[in-house]
């Protein structure tokens, strides 16, 4: 057998599985209302220095209201799981809230281009990074969700992504094959936006769930924003569709259009004009500061943010684009 390699970076976030069993044993599993406000959820559940994970896919089904509130409350030194982190990463870097990131995909906004501000933060070392891949981070959530210390897989080996990761190679006890071992990733706080939840946190998601099934089960604390609060009766009538059960959840906040300017499948498409404004504003520091004041620091809440960017009329257009009754993408 050849020598087994290790990635050269330090693991940013790891909890022993027995420590996590104790934690989850003590977690309150009573069926109680988790309803709160965005501001209280951020104040009470996210502390400076903690490690967070954001659900959705960067610009799809993202919990924008919570991300903006993290910036407004000027949270500092957070760690982030950068599992296709696009607009979410852009927001958190703009607020200078994160100082480290496990990365699969950051800086870019897919086909829209790159965030110059986010890029600068990584190039100058303001945000320290450790390399992973989308599958690797999802498997790390899955290991955590399973309650085991690691999961084996067959990607990443032989590349610089492995070299600058904190993964390890192992030998398969059955086949002798070389495998990569991914350490369980328990974020301190997960934040997920969903289509429907009841007051207890039983959640349904329409369309792809990306890695939210796993991430919800891996996170120590979980904040849910939801397009609408529904009666528990409607969850009970269709329990097959419950992706996240209430006992994982610590906070539930009803935030209609809460993924804006991101896409919310079956409801509204992403606001490409506004996302472009973000990218443009970043090119000039003074202009970007004014842009952030206007859109985040000087607005009271998420409603006001939507209002100043076109309000109901804009949302109506995004609904039409999503439903293919109006051209656009």
């Amino acid at each position: 057998m050849q020598e087994l390699k290790s990635g050269t970076r330090e693991l940013m976030q790891f909890y022993d599985c027995d420590e996590m069993r104790d934690y989850f044993r003590k977690k309150d599993k009573s069926l109680r209302s988790k309803l709160t406000t965005v501001s209280d959820a951020v104040k009470n559940l996210i502390s400076d220095g903690e490690y967070i994970a954001v659900g959705g896919f960067g610009g799809v089904r993202i919990p924008t209201a919570v991300l903006h509130e993290i910036v407004r409350q000027r949270k500092k030194n957070l760690g982030l799981s950068g599992h296709t982190a696009t607009h979410d990463f852009q927001i958190l870097v703009a607020g200078e809230c994160i100082n480290r990131c496990d990365i699969a995909y950051i800086i870019g906004l897919e086909a829209r281009g790159l965030s110059s501000n986010a890029r600068k933060a990584v190039e100058t070392g303001k945000v320290k990074v450790v390399e992973w891949t989308n599958a690797a981070l999802a498997w790390r959530y899955k290991a955590a969700a399973m309650g085991v210390p690691f999961l084996p897989a067959r990607n990443m080996m032989g590349t610089d992504v492995f070299r600058y990761s904190a993964a390890k190679e192992i030998e398969c006890p059955f086949t002798g094959k070389k495998l990569v071992a991914y350490p369980a990733l328990h974020p301190d706080v997960g934040i997920i936006h969903v289509h429907r939840s009841d007051i207890y946190g039983n959640c349904q998601i329409d369309g792809i769930q990306i890695a939210d099934y796993e991430m919800a089960r891996a996170a120590k604390k979980l904040i849910i924003t939801t397009e609408q609060i529904v009666p528990t009766e409607s969850i009970r009538n269709d329990p097959t569709r419950t992706i996240i059960p209430y006992y994982l959840v610590d906070a539930v906040i009803e935030v209609p259009f809460g993924s804006y300017p991101g896409n919310m499948p079956y409801m509204y498409y992403s606001d490409e004009e506004h996302l472009k404004e973000w990218l443009e504003a970043e090119k000039d520091p003074q202009r970007f500061k004014e842009f952030l004041d206007k859109n985040i620091y000087n607005v009271k809440d998420f409603y006001e943010y939507v209002e100043i960017n076109g309000g109901l009329k804009k949302l109506h257009k995004l609904m039409q684009i999503e439903k293919l009754t109006k051209e656009g993408r």
Partner: protein, 257 residues
């Protein structure tokens, strides 16, 4: 000159490599258009995965994100990312399409950084996303990219997605699934493949209006030559009609050609 642009040409050429009944993971942009064109031309049962969890959609228009709602419009399944990645890992996915800032003679791709000091990159790019996963775990990696010697380099600054690494047998030695690896590189000048013995990139066909010399001039390393180098068949009228009218009517992608 023919009445098509280089993006249209690359999409048409790439689409011909995708056979009916195959499975492919596609991203946004040209790969998505190539898969859609193949479905409408010769491969109605070409099944497309998107990495965020969609399977076999009927795309109403070009998605802007590989996780947006277009990717699972009238799909057979809207699942999660690990469904796609695990399908790849267990050998069910024939092709993936990737790109990058740099590619070398073994098909190794860099989409992470320019520079040699990891702590101080000259330019930082987004990173792997799902690219390393797909290059590691699908059977055949396809690349669609414009060709120039800044992109086709002797040595990539960072191996984000594995090609044949250092040559024949290196993937297997590293632990990657055997029999997998780079397949074709479709550029604006020609089609490149890989020599079976050395796993080095070779010229297989040259697009109309270009020469082998043009390909060599735009490559920063020595290319091998296939035994028989052909001229790429031009896009047919039918391919162009379907591409322009049905695949990308708003010219989101072919408008960049």
């Amino acid at each position: 000159m023919a009445d098509y642009n280089s993006m249209e040409l690359m999409i048409c050429v790439a689409s011909r490599f995708l056979e009916n009944g195959a499975t492919v993971v596609v991203g946004t942009g040209a790969p998505c258009a190539a898969a859609m064109l193949a479905q409408k031309m010769h491969a109605p049962n070409l099944m497309a995965f998107f990495e965020a969890g969609a399977f076999a959609p009927i795309l109403p228009t070009m998605p802007i994100s590989v996780g947006d709602s277009r990717t699972f419009h009238k799909a057979l399944m809207a699942s999660g990312m690990l469904e796609t990645m695990e399908a790849c890992q267990k050998g069910m996915v024939d092709y993936c399409f990737l790109g990058g800032a740099q590619i070398d003679m073994y098909g190794n791709l860099n989409s992470s950084m320019i520079g040699i000091d990891y702590e101080h990159p000259k330019v930082r790019f987004p990173g792997s996303g799902g690219a390393n996963d797909l290059a590691s775990l699908t059977w055949r990696t396809m690349v669609i990219t414009p060709q120039d010697s800044r992109r086709f380099v002797e040595k990539v600054d960072f191996i984000t997605s594995p090609g044949y690494l250092t040559g024949k047998g290196a993937r297997e030695k590293a632990g990657l699934p055997k029999g997998s690896g780079p397949y074709k590189v479709v550029t604006n000048i020609g089609v490149l493949g890989y020599d079976e013995e050395t796993c080095r990139m070779r010229i297989e066909s040259v697009h109309p209006g270009y020469s082998v010399e043009d390909i060599k001039k735009n490559t920063g390393f020595e290319l091998l030559l296939a035994k028989k180098i052909t001229e790429t068949a031009k896009p047919t009228e039918e391919e162009l009609r379907v591409l322009r009218e049905q695949v990308d009517p708003y010219k989101y992608i072919i408008g960049r050609g």
